[in-house]
């Protein structure tokens, strides 16, 4: 028989928010450690969702509904997380670069990173280089995720990286880039630390760049 934790992961995968929340409550009542609920239940479920999305088994709405189930369950354990001594995997700021208003890819990456236990600052779309520099200086993020959907806005990624350099903060942060027209070659050319072809790979890349076990 599957354990309650396995059930929780399964409900996240299915996107069944009511059952996921109910199971989270049951686990809390049984005094199951919060770290286990988060890691072996919620994050484990989202990892499966990410894998299935990457392999084209899952479609976007299925990712969204799973993320909702995970988020609503996470709300229940959030107040207990500080006491449980769970450390955040790190803080990542994600945004679509200047001149580009496309947010779907950026939103999926945000969801997947949150689903993997990262703290994420969603900077929105049309984010200028100065705003990225500011978030590095002021919020101490360890990684930046830059998104672009247009060939015409890809150069804004380079400008952002240049701005980080000029501000003297380039070595404080890892820069990941992604979006439909992007390639590893372009990422290398503009001096990014990493490229991810899809939202699930962005999580793997973030872990790799921040030296966390995959």
């Amino acid at each position: 028989m599957p354990s309650l934790l396995e059930n929780l992961a399964q409900y996240v995968i299915e996107g069944n928010a009511p059952k996921a929340k109910e199971t989270t409550d049951a686990l809390l009542e049984q005094h199951v450690p919060v770290a286990d609920i988060v890691n072996k239940g919620l994050i484990a479920g989202m990892e499966v969702v990410g894998r299935k999305f990457k392999s084209n088994e899952f479609y976007i709405p299925e990712v969204l509904i799973a993320a909702r189930a995970m988020k609503q369950s996470m709300e229940k354990v959030k107040p207990l997380i500080a006491d449980a001594g769970i450390e955040s995997k790190g803080c990542v700021a994600v945004g679509t670069v200047q001149g580009d208003l496309h947010d779907i890819g950026k939103n999926l990456v945000t969801m997947m990173l949150e689903g993997a236990g990262f703290e994420v600052i969603d900077m929105g779309t049309d984010v200028g280089p100065a705003a990225f520099v500011a978030v590095v200086k002021e919020k101490g993020v360890q990684a930046l995720g830059l998104s672009a959907l247009l060939t015409t806005t890809m150069p804004a990624m380079k400008e952002t990286i240049n701005a980080l350099q000029e501000a003297g903060v380039r070595d404080r942060v890892k820069v990941m880039v992604g979006g439909a027209p992007l390639t590893q070659a372009y990422a290398d050319e503009i001096g990014a630390d990493g490229y991810a072809p899809d939202a699930a790979s962005a999580v793997d890349k973030a872990k790799e760049l921040l030296g966390l076990a995959a």
Partner: protein, 265 residues
């Protein structure tokens, strides 16, 4: 129904390579195939070469397409300099793709539309970004119609694009487009609407099915222009069938002609 053929877009890999290599044969073939399939305008996008080389690429695309077919082009760039270069090279009435309600872009593109007497695709988008609500779309449509006509663009040359987003991430994306199309045709008789289709189905299975169903719904709401692949024969057949059913095809003449040419199969 006005058809803008979308195939000559340099973000498609094969087209991008042809633009970089100035492969005239390839572009001619794409242009002729679309014109024969019923495209009234040929979209030309050369963005892949980068901002500095874009004017030259667009001029070459426009000239190559027009020499091959004599069909006018829709010049697809946000770059005013490239737009003007291509307009200068264009014979007959061109389509500007596109203008928006973003202040700086509106001010840069409007004089080109007026001076070159071009048709314009006007995206319902302003400086606050992509419209999240129906009200925002309608506000942008209102601004564009008033601003363009006041600026000397004929109502008949205005094609408002309500902006199509995936239903996979926003469930009401399709509904908002349909409502916006209805509003525009009710509020501004003589002004046209146009949209692309394929965004609607992003992230979902059987995308062509959704694209086609959406096209039919849009035509029903009043859409009278579409940016699409004219070589998609089932899609074009639906356009023709829709026009018959909405009494936009006198004596069903286009429909019958298409049937005789084997284009409804």
């Amino acid at each position: 129904m006005l058809i803008i053929g979308e195939r000559i877009n340099s973000t498609r890999k094969a087209v991008g390579e042809a633009v970089k290599a100035r492969d005239t044969g390839f572009i001619r073939q794409e242009a002729i195939a679309q014109a024969e399939a019923g495209a009234h305008f040929l979209d030309c996008n050369g963005a892949v070469v980068g901002v500095e080389a874009e004017p030259g690429a667009l001029v070459w695309l426009v000239q190559t397409c027009q020499e091959a077919t004599g069909v006018p082009c829709a010049i697809d760039t946000p770059n005013a300099q490239a737009m003007e270069a291509a307009l200068k090279a264009h014979q007959g009435q061109a389509f500007i793709n596109s203008i928006t309600a973003e202040k700086a872009k509106f001010d840069r593109i409007l004089p080109l539309a007026r001076d070159y007497k071009a048709k314009v695709v006007a995206l319902c988008l302003d400086d606050s970004g992509i419209p999240q609500t129906l009200e925002a779309r309608i506000r942008n449509a209102d601004f564009l119609v008033k601003g363009l006509t006041a600026g000397g663009v004929a109502a008949d040359d205005i094609y408002l694009d309500p902006l199509v987003f995936p239903v996979s991430t926003s469930g009401e994306a399709g509904l908002h487009v349909l409502e916006t199309i209805r509003h525009i045709h009710a509020a501004y008789p003589g002004v046209h609407t146009v949209c692309g289709l394929s965004n609607i189905s992003y992230g979902l299975p059987a995308r062509k099915l959704l694209n086609r169903a959406f096209l039919v719904l849009c035509i029903g709401a009043g859409l009278d222009g579409v940016i699409a692949d004219p070589l998609d024969q089932p899609l074009m057949a639906l356009v023709r069938a829709g026009e018959v059913l909405l009494a936009r095809d006198e004596f069903c003449a286009e429909y019958i002609a298409a049937a005789r040419q084997g284009k409804l199969e």
